[in-house]
Symmetry: C2
Subunit: 191 residues, 2 copies
């Protein structure tokens, strides 16, 4: 996980270990955190693998700049292109870097993920209906309020995610349409 976050950020340009940590906090910090205890060993590992290279900027300053290498870029894009799964926010991490993914594969992954979200939403809707009906038959439904509320939370979470992804996919489609229009206008310049 941390390897790919590091590589993703190095796509933008060289960074120090310290710089990486603050960049992570400011960008994907909402759903991913890294400590130095995992960061530095990861940098060491990635450098040994040849995914990144390090340059000691200054002999006295004890400051190392890590730079993306071709192997690292390949490794990162391979990870980025793998199917999206709703495990430990990895999908959100991938979304953050999705501008780097080739359009056709990106669309495929998003469509598949959208489908699985809708499926899960459907399954949960069924469960919720059953549970709600069972709850009506209880004498003291308030005694289970919180237990039940978590089901509602799950439902709303999936609803939110589904809508967000729907909006995002729509936005990209609209953009393509506009791009096509622009191209058409450009072609018929004298019209």
């Amino acid at each position: 996980m941390i390897d790919n976050v590091i590589l993703g950020i190095l796509m933008e340009g060289p960074q120090t270990g310290y710089g990486l940590k603050s960049t992570i906090e400011q960008s994907v910090g909402f759903f991913y955190t890294a400590s130095y205890g995992s960061l530095y060993p990861a940098l060491k590992r990635l450098a040994e693998q040849g995914a990144i290279s390090l340059v000691e900027t200054d002999g006295t300053k004890n400051k190392k700049l890590y730079t993306m290498e071709t192997a690292g870029r390949k490794q990162f894009l391979e990870w980025l292109g793998e199917p999206l799964t709703r495990n430990r926010n990895e999908h959100l991490l991938k979304f953050f870097f999705y501008d780097y993914l080739e359009e056709s594969l990106r669309k495929e992954r998003l469509a598949a993920f959208h489908g699985s979200l809708r499926e899960e939403l459907g399954r949960l809707a069924v469960v919720k209906q059953i549970v709600d009906k069972e709850t009506e038959a209880l004498e003291n439904p308030e005694d289970y309020r919180y237990r039940l509320s978590v089901l509602t939370y799950g439902f709303r979470y999936l609803e939110m995610a589904e809508r967000w992804l729907g909006d995002l996919r729509e936005k990209e489609l609209k953009n393509e349409y506009n791009a096509d229009q622009d191209a058409a206008v450009e072609e018929n310049h004298d019209e």
Copy 2:
């Protein structure tokens, strides 16, 4: 983490290790999963601590029933009463068991969590405004669509959570009001 999940489920009654796993899957499985590799060692640990006790139901059947003990209940309720934090879905886990928490402490924790959600929502709203303004100035905002969309995701996530919690707290308040009304009616029976 797993210790408290186990204890929380044992609040309902005795279970086998196998039973615990399927109960976990069916109840909090949406945001928490446990493997046997963590479950059985945890049960062993909890039994050694005296939080739970085990009964071999049958000499030949190799089946163990784990039962909650007083020490375990105390440990569980202590954990449950600790302040809510948005770390690795621990708050959702606590919510699921919140029917077991004493009402006044529960209200306090929910109010505090609601406040922190609103604060974070406010902070993110500011960040989003700044970023949106900066985005307008770009020549190719589409190149950063996904990067930016994750910010929207974070915002919508917090909005959803804030609303859900608001609804939940309101529901409990309404229930209290109704209970008061009922009590009043009962007192003035001849009216």
